[in-house]
């Protein structure tokens, strides 16, 4: 923990230095200018992430690497300390900190990165571990002015949380600051916050989003299909949905068969009447119509003999009826209506429908 060791004597030295800030500011400015001339590798992306002007962010970027090699001897410690202070000063002004020099010195003791990393959750423990320790040791030292330090810490955390909410990539950036930031800037990301204990790479996040979409649609389907609410498990629900679609399609076929057998009375007036009447009726009575009732109407109609004569389906090999072949149960309450001389197809067609309705 060289940085902490370096800063501890620095903080001890900083005490007597408070009285003469003017002398040190010159030194500070020199350090600042030295720092600013160092070109950052990828300051653009990183600094945009941090919402800081490039210069300040660059200083922060170089803060921790430079605090590491800060040599133990006092003059170097002094130079390390002013680095902290000088770097913090523009940073704090960016965040509207109190410009009190004493407070800033106290704040300067906390390495900014450590303050940034502390509110981060589990996903990146390894990288933040070293820096978090720095932060934790710092509060022990700064007993002189805890309030301002708390303020700065809280402000840092608040700003960080803002950043977190804005970009999920921040989580992954902690792994590798340089590369990932480039990708983050280029590709527009869905702004999703990674949940606790879940993987955060783009693949699994996209898959999770997809899964959620599919689950939402499954819920809609469950509401549409009657009797699906009680069933749990996607496979069973899907089976139920498939059965429902099948039964609806068969109903349409039966209805069209029924319409085909009805007397085609060619009366335009009648048709007109039917249209208007059916429209007005439909607008009022549709809620009362239940499809299974259709089957109970068969014996009521006076055309039963007609049906029995005409429903000879020897010649019928419809492609649409091929679907019925998979239905093998033979429940025949209304078999008397249909004279199915030929194929099991037609019988299963009818009975399959009845089975699904009853």
């Amino acid at each position: 923990m060289d940085p902490t060791a370096a800063t501890v004597p620095g903080s001890a030295v900083a005490g007597p230095e408070q009285e003469d800030p003017g002398l040190d500011t010159l030194q500070f400015r020199e350090e600042i200018q030295r720092l600013m001339t160092v070109p950052p590798e990828n300051a653009s992306s990183f600094t945009a992430l941090l919402e800081l002007p490039p210069t300040q962010a660059m200083e922060l970027l170089h803060l921790s690497p430079e605090s590491e090699p800060a040599p133990a001897p006092a003059p170097a410690a002094l130079s390390g300390e002013p680095l902290h202070k000088s770097c913090v000063h523009p940073f704090s002004s960016g965040l509207a900190f109190p410009t009190n020099a004493a407070q800033i010195e106290r704040a300067a003791k906390f390495p900014i990165f450590g303050g940034e990393r502390s509110p981060e959750t589990g996903p990146v423990p390894s990288n933040s571990g070293a820096n978090v320790e720095k932060v934790k040791s710092e509060p022990a030292e700064s007993d002189s002015n805890p309030n301002s330090s708390q303020e700065t810490k809280n402000n840092q955390r608040a700003s960080l949380k803002r950043k977190d909410r804005e970009k999920k990539v921040k989580v992954s950036t902690k792994k590798n600051k340089t590369e990932v930031k480039e990708d983050a800037e280029k590709i527009p990301y869905v702004h999703v916050r990674a949940r606790r204990g879940q993987a955060t790479d783009s693949h699994s996040l996209a898959e999770r989003a997809r899964r959620e979409k599919i689950n939402a649609r499954m819920k809609l389907l469950q509401e549409l299909v009657p009797g699906c609410n009680k069933i749990s498990g996607t496979a069973l629900v899907l089976d139920e949905i498939i059965n429902h679609v099948q039964s609806l399609q068969r109903q349409v076929e039966f209805l069209s068969m029924r319409l085909a057998t009805v007397d085609p009375r060619i009366d335009s007036n009648l048709d007109h009447l039917l249209a208007t009447e059916s429209l007005s009726l439909m607008q009022s009575n549709f809620s009362n119509m239940v499809p299974p009732l259709m089957w109970s109407e068969f014996p009521i109609n006076g055309n039963r003999q007609q049906y029995q004569q005409q429903w000879h389906f020897d010649a019928l090999h419809q492609p649409g009826w091929g679907r019925e072949e998979d239905n093998h149960t033979f429940v025949t309450p209304e078999a008397s209506l249909i004279s199915c001389n030929s194929s099991a197809n037609s019988a299963s067609l009818h009975t399959g429908h009845v089975k699904t309705e009853l």
Binding site: R210, I242, L248, S256, M282
Partner: protein, 169 residues
């Protein structure tokens, strides 16, 4: 009663009324066709003497008319209605082989590796029943299936009503 009902503009009316109108018109057309072209050996279309083949043909035409009027009532907003309309038009032009197969050839849309769902079998089964379902991914398939079920419900209700009215009178 109200001849104005028949002249409802498509924008104002609901799916149900659009479908009803289209279907009734198609039925009317079909009835006129059968009545206007009676072959001399067979009598005019009185139900007792129409052959099974006649009726079978009529049934097929009515079914196609029902699907077509449903699909056109929905419009081109939905993939399944587009597929249905294409199928019907291709059938009319007798070129169903080429274009229908070309449409259904494309299995997987998403370029990335397909996620392995536990219910893949069921989803593939559902594809068979929803028109145009072959070329959709699971997400949009479920979407289309929901809308398709809703429209099928409407269709069944309307056709039951029409059949009742026809058989009652």
């Amino acid at each position: 009663m109200n001849p104005q009902l028949l002249s409802l503009s498509p924008n104002n009316s609901s799916l149900k009324s659009r479908f009803t109108l289209g279907f009734l018109r198609a039925l009317k057309r079909l009835n006129m066709q059968t009545s206007s072209s009676p072959s001399p050996p067979q009598t005019v279309s009185s139900s007792s003497s129409s052959s099974p083949r006649e009726m079978c043909r009529r049934y097929l035409r009515i079914r196609i008319a029902a699907d077509a009027s449903m699909a056109s009532a929905v419009g081109s907003r939905r993939a399944w209605s587009r597929t249905l309309l294409l199928k019907i038009r291709n059938r009319q032009f007798r070129s169903c082989n080429s274009s229908a197969r070309r449409i259904s050839m494309k299995k997987k849309c998403s370029g990335r590796k397909m996620k392995k769902l536990k219910c893949d079998k069921e989803i593939n089964e559902l594809r068979k029943f929803v028109p145009g379902g072959e070329a959709m991914d699971a997400c949009s398939l479920l979407d289309e299936a929901a809308h398709y079920i809703k429209c099928l419900n409407t269709q069944v209700k309307v056709m039951t009503r029409i059949a009742d009215i026809y058989s009652a009178t």
